[in-house]
Symmetry: C2
Subunit: 349 residues, 2 copies
């Protein structure tokens, strides 16, 4: 490998406060990068990117602000970052050697990068039976969010009634399986009939519905929750959240993981929730959370999740889009019905 | 006293799903009642009503349903009940004697009534320096709600920023003083300049504003909370709640006590809250509560509150309307700006 490489990277070309980001906002460019050992400082690594995590919150980095998530905005020209699985090419940290596969919490959306080793979350053992993409899914951002939503904040009792929106997505597929492990009755909503089939057949949901077909959410929830809802893990917000509040049981819990149906609008244009008074009478607790505030629990989560994966109790699914060129299209796919499971971009095999 | 008395009582004549109740919905009638000792069963008392508690939730009993509070609807012709301070006229329970003053949790809105002694919450010692109306205010339903909202659910740290709406009302005046005892910076909103003066001068609020004048709530909250809001005790809901969500700090708590600005509308007509996504980014916890679910804490509350009252650390205020004839007008006053402090109706001195 020569010392200078042509390095492809995605950067922010313009902000986009509303709507889905386009190639006007995110652009791919090629820059030269030196991979020479002497060109990196101590406690740094040169890595090549294998897999990139595609997450809805990335929308926030290019909006100006994604009002409500308070994700720090990128500067113009800045390269995007995300969770990434990377392989070490050169190391100036004795903990890591050439060829090690690592999880990078601030991976540049680029083919190669120079990384302070403090950004590395963990070393990955490729021989332990867990596929690399799962480190970005069930063992990454969405898996941790699902675990926090169900195990920490929702905390449903066995046999209670659990509802999960965006049920076939990266968070939803793991959350549903965690709730099933707890012995709950679990229902999911998702955007196509195929995905409804998937959540029942692969992820073990008791039932589910296609919200594009059963678009009277109140009627759907009456049908699927004759005994009311005890825990709702909200991934979508808007009208679905409002309808859920008409079906909550006493002391229901609503962990707010995200509100993807509302991300592409300024806040004053978002759907207003008119029935929060139900939270008083039914004594409901609604609580937002961000994984970055719970990093002290990441170890507990990894222990649980690796066990479930290795025992086959949790079966994840990834949608692997090949080629760094597809990053923008992959990001847009999470704002549509076209993705399934955890979306990752494979940069290198 | 003769055995038969003419007994005035308020009953439900018609339901009123929207708007403020009128004399079409609640009517006063006179019925004969026997006060003879032999006319009551064992473990019952005949009592005369001294004071009646006037609470916003009573609206719910005559709406059909007050959608969201899930208050059981009264039947037509049924006499209203509320917390009441009563005096024993005849007793068939050895725990109580003629002349005892008691707090009745299900007091009929009537001059006289026959009460199963299981409805009695406590005996009142009129010589302990606490005025009788305080048993319905700071030591009654609203005081308990304020205590739960601040001490149990809001739990603000010293020096944190606390906001309370309907700040001069029965709940608000106690909540503000409890938060001051905890060493917080406490700001209130209320409906008139006189009430703003009152909360600052009598209830110890650090500051306050008249929401009818400073009607751009976002601007007002920017002004009064340059460092953001840590705890908001919500008594009013609607636009004020929405504005608060634009000013919350990380991990803010919002105990939902009530939403009086929304009670007189069916739910589909209520103001929608468009910025719940802020709860995700700021990791806010919002939780509804009803005092009846916390009766196991009533003893702790009474111990705290009696101490604060006797030490003069909490100074309550009552608005005493004289004459049972004024019950309807008193109830309507809590849906306007005309009441101050705890509203009670004095039936007998
Ligand atoms: N709080 C945290 O720390 C944290 C961490 C990770 C993720 N999250 C949040 O969790 C949620 C799920 O994230 P994810 O990574 O698992 O993404 P994902 O579910 O894999 O992908 C997003 C899915 O959302 C659904 N969707 C898109 N637009 C929608 C709309 N307008 N209405 C309803 N559903 C829509 C689509 O599925 P359908 O075809 O089923 O509609 C899409 O597949 C997001 O809100 C995300 O922001 C939060
Ligand atoms: N969860 C529980 O168990 C529980 C128990 C007791 C009370 N509560 C709730 O606590 C709240 C306060 O009750 P309270 O007994 O203390 O009554 P209160 O505050 O003494 O009286 C109600 C006050 O609300 C304000 N108000 C009326 N209409 C309003 C509107 N449209 N917009 C804004 N403010 C309005 C008025 O004060 P201003 O002049 O300041 O506007 C009025 O004085 C109510 O929501 C009640 O339902 C809940």
């Amino acid at each position: 490998m020569g010392d200078l490489v042509e390095n492809k990277e995605w950067y922010v070309a313009a902000y986009s406060p509303e709507g889905v980001p386009t190639s006007d906002h995110l652009k791919l460019r090629t820059v030269s990068l030196s991979l020479a050992h002497e060109s990196i400082p101590d406690d740094h690594l040169i890595v090549e990117t294998l897999l990139l995590s595609v997450d809805p919150y990335l929308r926030g980095t290019i909006t100006g602000t994604l009002e409500g998530l308070f994700i720090p905005q990128y500067q113009l020209n800045q390269v995007l970052t995300t969770f990434a699985v990377v392989r070490v090419i050169r190391s100036k940290d004795s903990k890591y050697s050439e060829g090690d596969i690592l999880l990078n919490g601030y991976g540049l959306v680029a083919e190669y990068s120079i990384v302070p080793s403090s950004h590395i979350i963990r070393k990955i053992d490729p021989a332990n039976g867990i596929s690399l993409s799962d480190y970005l899914g069930s063992l990454g951002v969405p898996g941790f969010a699902a675990w926090l939503g169900i195990e920490v904040l929702g905390n449903p009792k066995p046999a209670s009634n659990v509802f999960i929106s965006a049920a076939s997505g990266a968070v939803g597929m793991i959350a549903g399986q965690l709730a099933k492990i707890r012995g709950c009755r679990v229902i999911g909503s998702t955007g196509s009939d195929d995905k409804v089939k998937l959540i029942k057949e692969k992820f073990g949901y008791d039932d589910g519905f296609n919200y594009n077909i059963e678009s009277d959410f109140d009627a759907a929830l009456s049908k699927y929750f004759p005994d009311g809802i005890d825990v709702y893990l909200d991934n979508v917000g808007g009208k679905m959240l409002e309808s859920v509040l008409n079906h909550v049981n006493k002391n229901a819990r609503i962990p707010l993981c995200g509100m993807i149906s509302q991300y592409n609008k300024v806040w004053t244009e978002r759907e207003g929730i008119r029935n929060l008074l139900n939270m008083v009478g039914k004594e409901v607790r609604m609580e937002g959370f961000m994984i970055k505030s719970y990093l002290h629990r990441f170890g507990d989560f990894v222990k649980d999740m690796e066990k479930y994966l290795q025992e086959g109790k949790i079966k994840p699914k990834s949608k692997i889009n090949i080629g760094i060129e597809n990053f923008l299209e992959s990001l847009n796919s999470v704002f549509s019905n076209s993705n399934i499971g955890k979306v990752v971009v494979q940069v290198k095999a």
